[in-house]
Symmetry: C2
Subunit: 221 residues, 2 copies
Amino acid sequence: MNNLSAVEENYLKYIYQLGETQNGIVKTNDLAYKLEHSAASVTDMLKRLSDKKLVSYKKYYGVSLTKIGQQIAIQVMRKHRLWETFLAKNLKFTWDKIHEIAEQLEHIQSDELVDKMDEYLGYPKFDPHGDPIPDKHGNILVPNVICLTDAKLKKLYILQNVNDDSASFLKYLNKIQLQLNDKIKIIEKEEFDETMLIIVNDKRQITISNDAAQNMFVKSV
Amino acid sequence: MNNLSAVEENYLKYIYQLGETQNGIVKTNDLAYKLEHSAASVTDMLKRLSDKKLVSYKKYYGVSLTKIGQQIAIQVMRKHRLWETFLAKNLKFTWDKIHEIAEQLEHIQSDELVDKMDEYLGYPKFDPHGDPIPDKHGNILVPNVICLTDAKLKKLYILQNVNDDSASFLKYLNKIQLQLNDKIKIIEKEEFDETMLIIVNDKRQITISNDAAQNMFVKSV
DNA sequence: TATTATTTTTAGATTAGCTTAAAATTATTG
DNA sequence: CAATAATTTTAAGCTAATCTAAAAATAATA
Ligand SMILES: [Mn+2]
Ligand SMILES: [Mn+2]
Ligand SMILES: [Mn+2]
Ligand SMILES: [Mn+2]
């Protein structure tokens, strides 16, 4: 039981996620952009989260999660990803619809509910977008993936993980019939704009923009 | 999509439920008691709901739902009862735990989610407490029940419906092993305090207080 | 029916979470 | 390294949803 508001939980979650690419330190403006709030609102909330010992905040420098703040962030992600799994697997939602609903469901407060959902779903390790689902104790199985933009030419990869928070990107993947676990080999890369020609499952050839590739993560076979 | 806050949705739901026993008109104090808010807060909110044309509110007289307010109230109850069904049937929660969690889940905004849950659960007609689940169009199968306090002596009844919002009452029913669809026959009623001696499923005899009987609803066989 | 009791509304305040505009700090660059 | 640009914070203000205390309206009763 953490008893935080949905707004506070979202702050912790996004500080966690933005911090992953950095060294854990997140800038005010990056949070403001992610949350679609003004920078002033963010500063305001960071002070309150700091008072609650959920973040360490240093003026003009940045913010990072405390131990307890991090634990809460991970539990929110756990709920988000378990709900996404339920929506996709059990209710047959397409993967472009589930994120938005999970944004609401992740704030339902009941530890018992989370654990029962986990059990009901068979303790899934990854959500429908390939994101790892933290376990009850907050352990996360970090998948060994690289961004498709960093993948080598003529090498075989498997699509492991896609960025889940843009429905339009996921709809685009539906349209070009690209799914998780598809085999991908880059056969050519345009020097000018990084557009790449790839072969999917040793069969189809498709062209992928750099923008698209940036949202795709693969592992070598 | 109604886009009301959880607070507004709760007001509509409780106006609906309190109005059922009246002629649809609900008094400020009754709402305040149900919501555990001050009467002043209720008056304030009623004015705002009135501005939004969700209720008709007459000062010092009472409040009732407009057509649109009623439709929203019914959809909130639909969601509440579908979620309770999921929690009990699929996740194996006991019936005393589900109401509190459903109080949160009923405010998740997604028409598609509600319909998919309904289908997933097999279009249930009643929730785990015997309350009717409104269909997609807001139709409610009103069950023909009477309160156990109004039941006749020596007549056979079936327990159809219990009041769901008191966990302690439901835990008490667990303890005395009384469930929905149990057969009940009142064999004696104490004149002093209305305590009744009943036979359950033609086997066990138990004593039920008037307070308990007021939360139980039965139909004749 | 006049007085008293109860219910309901109004008035004024508070808190969380947001905004814009202005001020302060830090980063960039000629 | 000083001027300028970008980022961040502060200041002031707004709305939704709550509160308490006081005033007003309605209901009960002697
Ligand atoms: Mn998601
Ligand atoms: Mn996901
Ligand atoms: Mn309930
Ligand atoms: Mn119920």
